[in-house]
Symmetry: C3
Subunit: 157 residues, 3 copies
């Protein structure tokens, strides 16, 4: 009962209020057993994107803001899924994450950056958190965010 809620508490993680989409779409759509979640930006619990989680990664950028941005996007995916499902224990599997990072020129540590999101899913869901993913560096993201992560979850019957 409330396994995921307890795990979030152990991790010291409080899910923010699910952010309203910034335009004319919805955060989650369920189709059969699949729950699709819109690309999430690294909004904090104050509803703003911290300045250090905006801009673009470059060759000499530190890894920490990139990882933190991906992690925050993942937290927001969970907030959206929680809001749609009522209870994250209904998640049978994290199926897929799609990670986009804003890059100018080059940034060598994209996989480590995306681990900010992947590690969170593993920490929260354990084996059920093991997902496929695609990570790419893009030219620009909405609201000048450093990262955007979309999610796909399988819901238990």
């Amino acid at each position: 009962m409330n396994i995921v809620a307890k795990r979030l508490e152990e991790l010291g993680l409080r899910l923010p209020k699910a952010a309203a989409p910034v335009a004319n779409y919805v955060a989650c759509v369920r189709s059969g057993a699949l729950l699709f979640v819109s690309g999430q930006l690294p909004f904090g619990s104050d509803g703003k994107i911290a300045a250090e989680l905006t801009g673009k990664l470059a060759a000499d950028s530190p890894i920490e803001p990139a990882t933190a941005a991906a992690r925050q996007c993942a937290i927001n995916l969970l907030a959206q899924a929680q809001s749609a499902l009522g209870d994250l224990d209904r998640v049978a599997r994290v199926v897929r994450l799609g990670g986009f990072f804003a890059i100018e020129g080059r940034f060598e540590r994209l996989p480590q950056a995306m681990n900010g999101a992947s590690d969170l899913m593993a920490d929260v869901f354990g084996e059920r958190g093991r997902h496929v993913r695609t990570t790419v560096g893009v030219a620009h993201l909405p609201l000048d965010a450093l990262a955007e992560v979309e999610g796909l979850f399988e819901i238990a019957p």
Copy 2:
């Protein structure tokens, strides 16, 4: 009967002939209840991409061509879905749109640009048109298009 067709008529929208894929793939694949549609470019009904819907968005670009490009991609998604399904009334839900915009440097209004596609789905399908989406700015798109949008639809049993 023909609810969507009537709605398209009310909107003054005539779907173009579904464009043949520009290379070795198909426009639509159905798997179970899901209809996947290839990324669509903003071809007009003359089979060409208008010059103003090509190139790259930049900091000082106007919003109109970006929105128009996304809308045209969405129209082409509908044309493909119509061609695959025979009747758009079979669409139970627009599940997801993935929007890519060609950007040089930065362009602040990506979400508004993508609304060109999202608003069309809402206008045509109403509640069934409410979808999740992911919007990113990329480095370059096929045929120098300003936008490319892929779609995922749920088909009624």
Copy 3:
């Protein structure tokens, strides 16, 4: 029996050992009839990405390395699917490929480049290999790869 294995042999294709994910995620997740495969990089059978399959495409880049990179990513998708399924004859359909190419400035022949992946699926699976796809040019890819391709397969019951 072993139709795909025989076809691979006819094509002179030996699938490499499925590469371990380069970070904290898995290569394949099955959900219902769908097999999702993580974005694959153009690793060769020696476990390395050949120098000519790294870097970025530009206006004057030749097409061959771009096509070869996409093809190698597709081979690695098959290696992952084979590893997950045991037998590629279980693939009922290649549903979707998502192709990302690292581009600096512009590169006119993205669709032809992506055919490196699409043609391989058609060669290996015939009619079952006909898929939808989305092809975009991005700013940077993990390990400086020229291409990354993700896959979605439908598995026979």
